[in-house]
């Protein structure tokens, strides 16, 4: 098993708000690591043999890397806009490849069957054509002009609406989605999925959101997102093989899966293969 090119990326390893001087233990790509708050109020992360790892705090979480990140942590400028509520959804462990967890997040076609009567419902199953590109300058995967009919798009939504989405993959195990904001038409709600790869087949998932919603209690916002993600969890734990197949032929995409196709291609191009299956077995 090799961590490959993904070793030099940033990964979420905890909620910043939960790290204290007592510290906490977790795992990153097979290595035990420890997080603690220093007397100066910073966060330190080290491996079991005492090696200090690089640390950055951003988007509500502590990020670290076993290697040497060459880029700063990706920015989410929209999340910094004043008036948004930042929602720390907390961790959920999933027995799946970190890459499968991200790919599921990029997918809308499953809404009617997995998030029934919330993010989708039969007969509104059609996925209209949308646009996908790999933005070379930012080196990110983007899907835009994604539209889907949703019975209850957000906690603050009442009744069904056609929701607009944009998806973005700024790092191999992270995705940011922008969706129609029911409370403030014209703005985008920001919903993210940050995935901590524990091993190639086990991950801790940290959903996080930056929403315009002054009405809904914070706990209800957390629970709405936990409900959605836990509906996905039982799917993710039952895909065969557990690792994401990067070679074509093993699985069959259609036009609705263009984001997934681009994501897999981008992973392969960068040798981001931790959690991937390369040769069809």
């Amino acid at each position: 098993m090799t961590t490959g090119a993904m070793r030099d990326e940033w990964y979420p390893v905890g909620l910043r708000s939960k790290v204290d001087a007592g510290g906490q233990q977790t795992m990153l790509m097979g290595e035990q690591i420890r997080l603690r708050e220093t007397p100066g109020g910073a966060v330190a992360v080290e491996t079991a043999d005492g090696r200090a790892l690089p640390v950055v705090v951003g988007h509500g979480h502590v990020w670290t890397s076993l290697g040497q990140p060459t880029r700063p942590l990706f920015a989410i400028p929209e999340a910094d806009q004043p008036g948004r509520r930042l929602v720390e959804v907390g961790v959920v462990r999933v027995r799946c490849s970190p890459l499968r967890a991200v790919e599921n997040f990029l997918d809308i076609a499953h809404f009617p069957f997995v998030h029934t009567d919330i993010l989708g419902a039969e007969p509104h199953t059609e996925v209209e054509r949308y646009e996908v590109e790999i933005r070379e300058k930012e080196d990110e995967v983007w899907a835009t002009k994604v539209r889907f009919y949703q019975p209850q798009a957000a906690k603050s939504a009442s009744g069904g609406i056609t929701t607009d989405y944009m998806y973005r993959v700024p790092a191999p195990t992270c995705s940011v989605l922008y969706k129609t904001c029911p409370a403030r038409p014209g703005e985008w709600d920001v919903i993210t999925l940050f995935v901590q790869p524990l091993t190639e087949e086990l991950c801790d998932v940290w959903p996080w959101m930056a929403l315009y919603d002054d009405v809904t209690p914070m706990t209800d916002l957390i629970h709405f997102q936990q409900m959605i993600f836990l509906q996905d969890r039982s799917i993710l734990e039952n895909q065969i093989p557990r690792r994401l197949p990067l070679d074509p032929g093993m699985e069959i995409p259609t036009r609705a899966d263009l984001t997934s196709v681009a994501y897999r291609r981008w992973l392969k191009r960068h040798n981001y293969t931790y959690g991937a299956q390369l040769v069809a077995q």
């Binding site: 076609a109 069957f113 199953t125 699985e251 069959i252 259609t254």
Partner: protein, 208 residues
């Protein structure tokens, strides 16, 4: 190889099975036809045994793709106007149902599954033990057709053992066709006791 009892798979249901050819999904259509397919959706690998049976098709729970009994993809809900290409299909296997037992044909075989004229299926249960250990615990006889005969609760029984890839066995218990309700209940309890014996023997062996 015996894989399930007919009564455990009513119309419009699907169940998961472990077989020597890998995980399989056994499903019965609304009209009662039984089929078996690989337990992996060709789209994104979701286990089809988590799906649902509508009418004569098996649908995947993830994106709702549905498959016919011969494995062809019939419908892709994300593209309602698209006729799914014939190349999209899920692998299938041949099953047959006799005397209330569902059998999987392991290879191209002409031979028919065994018939048991005086016994009918009771229940299936998993033993954390290999068939050899079960035969010892039963103190029974193995037949050429792979079945075991013995006595449980003082009544003649037939056990059909399907070894699982993880070393456990799925055991299908057949009771005398003329057994009363009380006798069937007694055989069911005695099978639980047999399981404790077989599994304890295994644990004792492991400890030795």
């Amino acid at each position: 190889m015996p894989v399930a009892l007919s009564s455990d798979i009513p119309p419009a249901t699907v169940i998961p099975l472990q077989t020597p050819s890998g995980p399989m999904a056994l499903w019965r259509s609304a009209s009662g036809r039984l089929s078996m397919s690989a337990d992996r959706c060709p789209h994104r690998g979701m286990r089809l045994s988590h799906g649902f049976v509508r009418g004569e098709a098996l649908s995947c729970i993830y994106h709702g793709w549905s498959y016919s009994q011969d494995g062809h993809c019939l419908r892709i809900p994300a593209h309602p106007d698209l006729e799914p290409p014939a190349a999209i299909r899920v692998a299938t296997a041949t099953v047959c149902e006799t005397g209330g037992v569902v059998w999987l044909a392991l290879a191209q075989t002409e031979s028919q599954p065994p018939r048991f004229s005086h016994h009918t299926p009771l229940r299936s249960l998993a033993f954390a033990a290999a068939p050899t250990a079960i035969l010892v615990a039963l103190n029974g006889r193995a037949s050429a057709d792979g079945s075991m005969q013995g006595e449980l609760a003082g009544l003649s029984v037939i056990l059909l053992c399907a070894p699982q890839p993880d070393g456990t066995s799925m055991v299908h218990v057949l009771a005398p066709s003329d057994a009363t309700l009380e006798e069937r209940l007694a055989i069911s309890s005695a099978t639980e006791a047999l399981r404790r014996t077989a599994e304890t023997a295994l644990a004792t062996e492991a400890a030795a």
